[in-house]
């Protein structure tokens, strides 16, 4: 990127020196100063409306509170309350426990999913694996299915009355109720693993393909093959892809919403504030807009801290090695 900046700078200054010889060139050059603005404006305006404004609006709203007069006759008024909405949200057991719940699910589910994705990517990258294209397409198919529809499908597969899985397990003497309290985190985690392993596998696999073949060949000549080749050569080389998929998975966990909402359709025992976004949406439904805004801001902060924290942690360890 710096290269192209320099070359275009050199070129445009060269052109400016030549400019007076071309009729009207000076005017065109002046006009070009505004061109970037004109091209950026449509996207920029809409970006401001849909990304920047909501953040500012949520932060602003989170600092106010609806104050009702003693008798409740006058319309409620908005009063500034500083950070008291935040202390209230952090003291709200339902909200904090929804965060803890999602973190715990993530701690188990993300390593399982990424481990599986890595193993499959390595197998597809190994030279003698048969029918690679077919397998890759098969693993990727769940990603092509919209998350909500995938959730809808699994909610049927979990529903005790029609679940072919429950029936099949009962045949071998296992009686599993996917909708029971204890199973809920596992059932939701499985929906996520099913939906996202293929995507992560593709990302890791395309990073593996970028590793120059000579590395693997040299290692193989030295007798480093199979899993040792994967462990010592390939995995370290796709570390950036692993970091990226981990960060995206952490972010994905924080926005957990679709799967548990569909789970609720078969498991009424799943509470309506099961995940942070569900908890925030509960507040919207109860017309507590200020509380909802506060929870959204807190959630954004948690995501920011977690994903950037993880990246810094990884970078530090990378630097130490």
């Amino acid at each position: 990127m710096p290269r192209s900046v320099n070359s275009s700078a050199a070129r445009s200054s060269g052109r400016a020196a030549r400019a007076p010889r071309l009729p009207g060139a000076g005017r065109r050059f002046e006009g070009r100063r505004w061109t970037p603005l004109g091209f950026l404006l449509p996207f920029g305006l809409l970006f401001a409306v849909t990304y920047l404004a909501p953040i500012c609006y949520a932060v602003y709203e989170s600092l106010f509170k609806l104050q009702r007069s003693g008798l409740g006759l006058a319309p409620p008024t908005e009063t500034f309350t500083g950070l008291s909405n935040y202390t209230a949200a952090l003291a709200d057991h339902a909200f904090t426990s929804s965060i803890v719940r999602v973190v715990l699910i993530g701690v188990v589910q993300v390593p399982i999913m990424l481990g599986l994705a890595l193993v499959l990517a390595l197998l597809l990258d190994a030279r003698r694996t048969p029918a690679k294209r077919l397998f890759r397409l098969g693993f990727f198919l769940p990603y092509a299915i919209p998350g909500v529809i995938g959730g809808l499908m699994w909610s049927f597969l979990y529903e005790p009355s029609i679940s072919p899985l429950t029936q099949a397990l009962a045949h071998v003497g296992l009686h599993v109720d996917f909708t029971s309290d204890g199973m809920l985190p596992w059932s939701v985690g499985n929906m996520l693993t099913w939906g996202w392993t293929g995507y992560n596998m593709i990302v890791i696999h395309s990073a593996l393909k970028a590793v120059p073949g000579e590395f693997a060949e040299a290692a193989e000549l030295d007798g480093c093959t199979g899993w040792r080749l994967a462990w010592h050569i390939k995995i370290p080389m796709v570390r950036p892809a692993l970091v990226m998929t981990t960060v995206f998975s952490i972010i994905g966990m924080a926005q957990l919403y679709n799967e548990p909402v569909l789970m609720r359709a078969v498991a009424p025992n799943l509470s309506s504030d099961w995940t942070p976004i569900m908890a925030a949406q509960n507040e919207v439904a109860a017309n507590n807009y200020h509380a909802a805004a506060t929870r959204s801001v807190l959630l954004a902060l948690v995501i920011f801290i977690l994903s950037f924290g993880f990246m810094r942690f990884v970078n530090k360890r990378g630097a130490a090695q």
């Binding site: 849909t50 990304y51 909501p54 499959l120 003698r128 397998f135 909610s155 049927f156 950036p240």
Partner: protein, 280 residues
């Protein structure tokens, strides 16, 4: 190499086959179940066809159900996804092109802001957007879903990368010397060179909009405006009391087909997008 030993190779194959079964079995169940009527859905084996093949009847029942609301949902989804993705692609192409090819103050600041927006997930913005749109009475209109759909920070990121790599400065200079205006240069030179990457951006945005659930479910209470994802989930939440399960399953299958077909047809384009995501 361990995979050259027969036992190792069998092990590898077993892992691959197991993972493939895990990936495909639920989809297979969906296809098989869409061919059954309500009673066969409960009584027959879930992973195989029952005696009579009901798919056509299910589809015609589904399309006739509640004054054909399902067809309306499909059209809504198509409209949001195609319209939103076309506009988003154009806006991203313009912004990314300028960020790659022009030098101006604040360029890096703009690009960093866009990158930051990619890192924060869209669902996080859905609730604040809802609060903001309900304050401005945009909620429950077409625009409440369409406006957020035409903004794609990821598209801007992709188009900047592509424009940097694929649009030669010499070509732009030649256009300028020939007296073409800046927009004309963009339209007739840059857009043409960028065409393959525009397909990638379009594809990603189409899929994002088509699969979106949280935003439209918050914004749209009027079921005539809802996309197919919101409509189907609302049916499912009634737990089979008003809409029979076989119709919901058939609906789920129909709603998935356009997107799977698109993925399969445009494989090389999404691969390009994923690959550039991983070098970030």
């Amino acid at each position: 190499m361990s995979t050259s030993r027969p036992a190792g190779r069998t092990g590898v194959l077993a892992v691959l086959v197991l993972a493939a079964v895990y990936s495909l079995l639920p989809v297979w169940w969906l296809v098989v179940s869409a061919t059954k009527d309500s009673s066969d859905l409960v009584s027959s084996s879930g992973f195989w066809f029952s005696g009579h093949f009901q798919l056509i009847e299910n589809i015609s029942d589904l399309l006739g159900f509640q004054d054909g609301i399902f067809g309306r949902w499909l059209l809504n989804s198509l409209f949001y996804a195609v319209g939103g993705a076309v506009v988003a692609t154009l806006l991203s192409a313009m912004a990314g092109y300028v960020l790659a090819k022009y030098r101006f103050r604040g360029r890096e600041a703009v690009f960093s802001t866009v990158l930051g927006a990619i890192l924060l997930p869209a669902p996080l913005f859905a609730l604040p957007l809802y609060l903001m749109f309900s304050a401005t009475h945009l909620v429950n209109t077409f625009w409440a879903v369409f406006i957020p759909s035409v903004v794609s920070p990821f598209g801007v990121y992709l188009s900047r990368i592509y424009a940097e790599a694929a649009v030669p400065d010499e070509l732009l200079e030649a256009g300028r010397i020939d007296g073409a205006g800046e927009f004309r240069i963009f339209r007739s030179i840059a857009l043409r060179v960028l065409q393959p990457s525009l397909v990638t951006i379009f594809l990603f945005q189409f899929v994002t909009i088509w699969t979106n659930y949280l935003l439209p479910s918050l914004m749209l209470a009027n079921d005539r405006l809802q996309p197919v994802t919101v409509g189907l989930v609302a049916w499912k939440e009634q737990r089979g009391q008003t809409v029979p399960y076989n119709l919901i399953i058939t609906g789920a299958l129909l709603s998935v087909i356009p997107i799977v077909v698109m993925f399969l047809l445009l494989q090389r384009y999404w691969k390009a997008g994923l690959a550039s995501g991983s070098v970030k």
